[in-house]
């Protein structure tokens, strides 16, 4: 009972802290709205992917909120149905990036010696090789048919800078008094790492998770735009690719077909980046001045 009341009050407090930064809170709400929309809305909006030759490249109307594409299909329906893949790949890629970076970064900091040197050298390597071309080349050899495989590839090359920062953070936190005290008590390294050090990096790690998501969105939509990975479903990236390839840019009404996926991607990126401000305030008590 007591814990429930505690949970309730801490939730209320969290909400109060998050709403303090207006831009951040707006970003958070918009992000949740887009993600919910991408996952829930498809069950309410039927996917009509039949070509309608008489309605090619129409502007917005009551029937077609965002106009139609080069085959006369409704753009709004495609936007509603095209978000799931993009968000799934972005979130999974960010999660895997984080997992790799946290594991390697803390291993390097805790073990030191040759393991540290080796992990650092590997990190430097994936940082130096330009990511997008590397991704292109890998996608050229490995048939990326599933979104999960794409996320894994994106994560496997994107952990470099995050690993470095985490290593540096762990190195500095490791010397703090409370960690030294825990060590003197004879607590195991895993306890030191996960109970003493990691909670102090939570705000940083969450912000990095969101930033990795934006990077993954750039990478996957870029890959799809260039037509390197097979386009099985109609997601936002595929829409941009088709709109560009089918000459949607040349008339005013058809531009809606190109601009709708662009607008939603930019909106999602912007909300994600703004959201980090609120997350930062929530998980980093030092930022809360005058409390």
């Amino acid at each position: 009972m007591n814990t429930l009341a505690l949970l309730g009050s801490s939730l209320r407090q969290s909400l109060r802290i998050m709403t303090r930064n207006k831009v951040g809170f707006a970003g958070l709400c918009l992000t949740l709205f887009i993600i919910l929309g991408a996952y829930v809305a498809p069950s309410f909006v039927p996917a009509d992917l039949e070509a309608h030759v008489e309605e090619i490249y129409e502007g917005p109307s009551a029937k077609h909120l965002l106009g139609t594409d080069y085959q006369g299909r409704d753009t709004f329906t495609q936007i509603v149905h095209g978000g799931r893949d993009v968000i799934y790949v972005a979130a999974l890629a960010a999660l895997l990036t984080l997992a790799i970076a946290v594991t390697l970064g803390s291993l390097a900091a805790v073990l030191g010696g040759w393991a540290d040197n080796l992990i650092n050298a590997a990190g430097e390597l994936v940082l130096t090789i330009p990511h997008f071309p590397l991704l292109l080349v890998l996608a050229g050899f490995i048939r990326l048919t599933s979104p999960s495989a794409l996320a894994l590839i994106i994560a496997s090359i994107g952990w470099g800078s995050l690993m470095r920062t985490i290593r540096a953070q762990v190195l500095s936190l490791k010397e703090r008094d409370y960690v030294q005290a825990a060590r003197a008590l004879g607590l195991p390294t895993s306890h030191l790492l996960f109970r003493e050090i990691m909670p102090n990096m939570m705000s940083f790690i969450l912000v990095q998770f969101v930033m990795s998501m934006t990077g993954a969105i750039y990478n996957q939509t870029g890959l799809i735009f260039l037509g390197i990975i097979p386009m099985v479903t109609n997601n936002w990236g595929v829409m941009i690719n088709l709109a560009w390839g089918q000459g949607a840019i040349f008339s005013k009404t058809s531009t809606w077909y190109l601009m709708s996926p662009i607008a939603i991607i930019v909106l999602l990126q912007f909300s994600l980046i703004s959201m980090t401000r609120s997350l930062d305030e929530l998980f980093n008590p030092r930022l809360r001045v005058g409390e």
Binding site: T128, L134, L136, G140, I217, G222, F225
Partner: protein, 358 residues
């Protein structure tokens, strides 16, 4: 150091040589150079084995394709060998060493898509355009970004600061190829500020490259849109980093001392604050170089600019593996070289880096 070591020279010359040797290896520039060479080597190795060892690798696919056209196995293997510059009868590690030896001599094999063309000539034809656009963009973005960032720091909380901060955070949310598309659609096709069908490509058809004003003007005209795109998408981070770096430098003791000594504001701003505040930005230069060169695959495709990035994406679509392999190695080598230059510049500007922070 020199006076301390001098007496030991006659006694222990081998130790002296070892010391010199160690000193050589610990040298900042030598270490950077070795790192760069190792990176290029790893990239080369990676692409070599990707082409050879992946299941249904391009080499096998090529041989199968020839076989299905009724060409005997020996001939098909000979054709594959000519294209990929490998001798399939030899063990893989010999092929690998021979491949590396060929690369050092500038031999990248032959293109599949444009039959018989040496890959090196393709690389040489398209690389200068990318280097031109990328280096101009980086220099413009860095210089203007640093200047604006400094101004933002001195006029913080003014409308100037707020507008530029908002601009920087909005631009950080927009992928660079989307910026390119928006420029084409709104400034080119709707407002007609430039002729979209004319500005595409890297030169007006019929223009002969040469050392004359007409050629340079034309090259710059065609490069302007990619340059604007790169600058718009990278300048924000320069501004914000320079602003925060300047603000933290302003609080340093030596700035207070300079003020107390009664030095002029302009001298403090340039020689004391500016020079020190710009230093941390050099560590970001490496990331920015990678971003811009990496983004060239997308940006050059959008503007159909005939550079190396465009070649990479078209080689991937046509499955022209030798070209793809070579272009990727060249892209990595350019980034490594640019990083080395940036590091060297940083080491020269900030001796603390060179001497290992002592």
């Amino acid at each position: 150091m020199a006076t301390l070591q001098a007496p030991t020279v006659p006694k222990a010359p081998p130790g002296m040589a070892a010391g010199l040797w160690r000193k050589f290896w610990r040298n900042y520039y030598v270490q950077r150079l070795i790192k760069g060479i190792v990176t290029v080597f790893v990239v080369t190795t990676l692409t070599f084995f990707l082409v050879r060892l992946m299941p249904s690798n391009p080499l096998e696919v090529y041989i199968q394709a020839q076989l299905s056209q009724g060409i005997p196995l020996a001939d098909a293997q000979a054709m594959a060998a000519a294209i990929y510059r490998v001798d399939l009868s030899k063990p893989i590690y010999v092929q690998y060493v021979e491949y590396l030896a060929g690369l050092v001599q500038g031999d990248f094999g032959r293109s599949i898509a444009s039959v018989g063309t040496p890959v090196s000539s393709i690389v040489l034809r398209f690389l200068p355009w990318t280097l031109f656009v990328v280096s101009v963009s980086l220099i413009v973005s860095f210089t203007v970004g640093v200047l604006l960032g400094t101004l933002m720091a001195y006029r913080r909380e003014s409308w100037f600061d707020h507008i530029l901060s908002a601009f920087a955070s909005i631009m950080s949310a927009i992928p660079n190829y989307v910026v390119g598309m928006l420029i084409i659609v709104y400034f080119g096709l709707r407002l007609k500020l430039f002729n979209y069908s004319e500005i595409r490509g890297s030169l007006t058809p019929g223009m002969v490259p040469g050392f004359n004003l007409k050629f340079f003007a034309d090259a710059l005209y065609h490069a302007s849109l990619p340059i604007i795109t790169y600058v718009l998408t990278t300048i924000g981070s320069w501004m914000l980093t320079m602003k925060s770096s300047t603000l933290s430098t302003l609080g340093e003791d030596y700035v207070t001392v300079a003020r107390a000594r009664g030095l002029t504001d302009s001298r403090i701003q340039m020689a004391y604050v500016g020079r020190n505040a710009v230093l941390p930005l050099f560590t970001q230069l490496a990331i920015s170089i990678g971003m811009v060169v990496g983004g060239s695959t997308l940006i050059e495709t959008i503007f159909t600019y005939q550079g190396i990035g465009h070649q990479l994406s078209s080689a991937l679509i046509t499955r022209d593996y030798p070209v793809m392999q070579a272009v990727f190695i060249i892209i990595c080598a350019s980034v490594v070289a640019a990083n080395f230059l940036a590091d060297a510049l940083y080491g020269w500007l900030d001796p603390r880096i060179r001497t290992g922070g002592r």
